[in-house]
């Protein structure tokens, strides 16, 4: 993976830059010792690494603004970081850049149950946002599998989704407003607790801009009353086609489960070996979750059972109690950890139209043989967001490259069938060079214009999202 040549001038000025930041921030907020910077050299995508020039850990919006103003004046690229759980390398630095971590900014600033919002500092973790309103019976809906650790900052930057977004939408549908600091240090408010923009929807384009338009320091988030209850069912099938048809029939019937998750055989076997959730050994497995009161859950499950049984499943398992419900989810929730036991993995997240599911899974199977690498699929089936996990051996020379090539072929296939490169993890550096598969020059030019307006010097996280060749003249300027 190519990264731009670091600016040697900036590296030469390190002492001065660090001194200026030290003067503007509390003593413990600036890290510049090489042995301490290694920890910040990558996020959850460990295949690509590079230690930054320095790392800063501000505590307030004013401190963020001060850091950015200095960096802007010194011409230093800045890479914002939340919890570093990005799977796309979004928070990976370059040698001439400063990591700006918001992890210390994790306070709850305001909760308003009457108007149903919460305002938090952006470093707060996703799950602890729900935690803060749980006692009053509320929750924050977007639930990435990484929700225990990932920060709202990263969620906003990546427009993260989760298993339950089929019903509740993704981050952008639950984000009401932000405090944003531009690269030049200007602090501004976009949106607000009332949740509809007055003019252009700038908040809408900031969400999902991968830390390239500004640093989000605070956010207003919509909170929702918790449903009375929820229950999953597990359905096993002997073929991917039939499982796909079942999903489509459920949706067509007008039932809106909160989640429909899909696992294929390699993934089922890996999770069984690791988590022993008691899944059937079949070709395709669906976990369908519905919400509501006891009676409402029963009403929906009756309908789902009818539809599923018409497709002749090898197993239809309902959860009689909380314990059984947990077991149904256990395997799905352990899927990443389980695949990780088999080796290193690369997790892709292209989206496809649900109707292409059988075709795409078949092609991935063929490619797996061709590339000689195993792959398991977990899948948000309701919305077509795939998660092929390609297994490789990071310590074996050449394996990563093979894995990257395989991954690129899968993503091209996703685009070819009418889908996209990434459904929730973001482009980062990982899919940067594939952008031109999905977009032509004019499409990317239009996106880059937005960055031109927010960050004319292209200093914020500049080496991401757009192929280096495409963004080159701007980054130089």
């Amino acid at each position: 993976m190519d990264m731009p040549e670091p600016d040697l001038g900036v590296i030469a000025r390190k002492a001065r830059i660090v001194a200026r930041m030290r003067a503007a921030l509390p003593v413990d907020a600036v890290i510049d010792a090489p042995e301490e910077l290694r920890v910040y050299e990558c996020d959850a995508l460990t295949a690509y690494r590079c230690p930054p020039l320095a790392a800063v850990l501000p505590r307030t919006t004013a401190e963020v603004s001060a850091v950015l103003r200095i960096a802007c004046e010194e011409g230093v690229p800045v890479v914002p970081r939340g919890s570093g759980t990005s799977l796309a390398g979004g928070a990976m630095p370059t040698a001439d850049s400063v990591i700006l971590g918001v992890a210390r900014m994790n306070a709850v600033l305001e909760t308003d149950y009457d108007n149903r919002f919460i305002r938090v500092q952006s470093g707060r973790t996703n799950l602890s946002v729900s935690g803060a309103v749980e006692a009053e019976g509320f929750f924050y809906a977007p639930d990435p599998s990484s929700q225990l650790a990932c920060a709202i900052a990263g969620n906003i930057a990546m427009n993260s989704g989760g298993a339950h977004c089929l019903k509740y939408g993704v981050t952008t549908n639950n984000l009401l407003g932000v405090t944003l600091v531009k690269m030049d240090g200007t602090v501004l408010t976009l949106g607000g607790p009332w949740g509809e923009p007055a003019g252009l929807d700038l908040l809408g384009v900031v969400c999902g801009s991968e830390g390239q338009l500004g640093v989000v320091t605070e956010a207003w988030l919509r909170i929702l009353p918790k449903p009375e209850g929820a229950r999953p069912v597990l359905v096993g099938f002997d073929s991917n086609e039939v499982a796909g048809a079942c999903v489509s029939d459920i949706i067509k019937a007008g039932i809106l489960p909160v989640a429909i998750e899909f696992m294929d055989r390699p993934c089922i076997r890996a999770t069984e070996a690791f988590a022993k959730a008691g899944y059937p050994d079949c070709e395709a497995l669906l976990i369908i979750e519905v919400e509501g009161s006891e009676a409402e859950i029963a009403e929906q499950l009756t309908r789902i059972r009818q539809i599923a049984l018409a497709h002749d499943p090898v197993e239809f398992r309902e959860a009689a109690d909380e314990d059984q419900a947990k077991r149904i989810w256990l395997g799905r929730k352990s899927a990443f950890g389980a695949m990780g036991q088999l080796g290193d993995y690369m997790c892709l997240d292209g989206t496809i139209p649900v109707s292409s599911l059988p075709h795409v899974l078949k092609r991935i199977g063929e490619m797996s043989v061709q590339f000689g690498l195993d792959v398991g699929n977990v899948f948000h089936a309701g919305d077509g967001n795939m998660h092929p996990l390609i297994l490789f051996d990071a310590n074996k020379p050449g394996d990563l490259e093979k894995c990257e090539a395989f991954g690129a072929e899968i993503l091209k296939l996703c685009v070819e069938v009418g889908g996209c490169l990434t459904g929730e993890h973001g482009v980062g550096i990982e899919k940067r060079d594939l952008m031109s598969v999905q977009f032509d020059a004019a499409d990317m030019e239009a996106q880059m214009r937005v960055k031109d307006v927010f960050d004319p010097k292209w200093l914020l996280n500049p080496a991401k999202v757009f192929p280096l060749g495409v963004s080159e003249t701007r980054r130089a300027g």
Binding site: L148, F336, N395
Partner: protein, 120 residues
């Protein structure tokens, strides 16, 4: 995650075990969420994932422990909340024990006043 030990290093059973543990860590960061020192300090150097990384660095290089690495490892409370949280079953306890042994062997702690300065 990838590791860079030479075959000679791996001949040492302690390093071989450490390598195995490091290989099983996928660097997902879940453990940061339940680590008390990270909760308070908000610096990834004081999180399990960060410590694992520091340890990896130190062992791979085969170099004596340095003051900064020691500081962040010293801050670990050995509460093992990280192990309970880890979805990949990373055996942090073995790893940190190994690191501490390495520190004892290779690092000369300054006398007390100095020590309280570096760990403060």
């Amino acid at each position: 995650m990838q590791t860079n030990f030479t075959p000679e290093q791996l001949a040492d059973p302690g390093i071989a075990r450490a390598n195995q543990i490091l290989r099983s860590c996928v660097h997902c960061g879940f453990c940061t969420a339940t680590c008390p020192t990270y909760q308070v300090l908000g610096d990834e150097l004081d999180s399990p994932r960060g410590r694992i990384y520091l340890i990896k660095d130190m062992l791979e290089a085969g170099r004596p422990a340095d003051e900064k690495t020691v500081k962040h490892i010293d801050r670990c409370l050995s509460c093992l909340a990280c192990m309970t949280t880890c979805p990949s079953g990373v055996h942090y306890m073995h790893l940190v024990d190994h690191a501490r042994a390495h520190i004892e062997k290779t690092y000369r702690r300054p006398p007390w006043p100095g020590r309280s300065r570096t760990s403060g």
